[in-house]
Amino acid sequence: MSARGGGDEVPIAADADVVRVRQLVRARAQAAGLGLVDLTKVVTAASELARNTLVHGGGGTARVEAVAGTTAGGRPRSGVRAVFVDAGPGIPDVRAALQDGWSSGTGLGLGLSGARRLVDEFDLTSGVGSGTRVVVVKWGR
């Protein structure tokens, strides 16, 4: 899998930035040829993760880029990757946080677990005091 450059990096510091991240992911997903359902899924996942970056991570950045790779069968495919980074408090128990219904606040606790189901690749790195990084990839079919 390789990034194809020309990605966008935007700050996530306010409500309006969450909207902007959704729009960026939508545009990249469209350019990568994702179908409507896959596009809707990855935009929804990005919305959850951007909000987590803002609300739980105290703000951060999102990087949205096109990626190219090959299927298991060797066919070329393109997709969209979104990387969310913050330098917030981190997640003490990542396994718990990834469970449906687990929230440290008043949320539904569906953001992380739901976002993971909606994408093809999901990688979460977090450490107490060292912030949180979530990478998601959604491929076109």
């Binding site: 309006a16 969450v18 909000r51």
Partner: protein
């Protein structure tokens, strides 16, 4: 911040969400609607989300809260126009929109509300 207009149509309140909602806009709509229910005595609230390209956990929770608050204020809520891709995503996300009635389009939504929201017999003794 944009504000989503709340329209009055007979005994109903009508909301059509046409913008990509910021969280603060969603919260404002929640408040505006509950105030409008009380101010107008509306018995039904119809929310058209055909313009929404996604419904994430925040907007999903807003819809559930609107339905719950309206019910406490004696009004029924119906959400109409959900796009198929949004419905698929919502289910996979794990949202069940608890307590929210849905209908495919505005017309059907009106019918649902029409059948459950007879006009209030304001001031008149109820014939039993």
């Amino acid at each position: 911040m944009d504000r989503v207009p709340v329209l009055r149509l007979g005994g109903l309140l009508l909301v059509s969400i046409q913008v990509d909602l910021e969280d603060s806009t969603a919260l404002a709509l929640q408040e505006d609607l509950s105030q409008a229910v009380v101010a107008t005595g509306a018995r039904g609230v119809l929310i058209d989300i055909s313009g929404l390209e996604i419904v994430d956990s925040f907007v999903g929770r807003m819809l559930s809260t609107i339905a719950a608050v309206s019910r406490v204020l004696d009004a029924e809520t119906v959400v109409v126009g959900m796009r198929p891709a949004v419905a698929i995503t919502l289910v996979e996300l794990g949202l069940d929109l608890a307590g929210v009635r849905t209908a495919l389009d505005v017309e059907r939504g009106m019918r649902v509300l029409g059948s459950t929201t007879a006009p209030r017999a304001d001031g008149l003794p109820l014939a039993r």
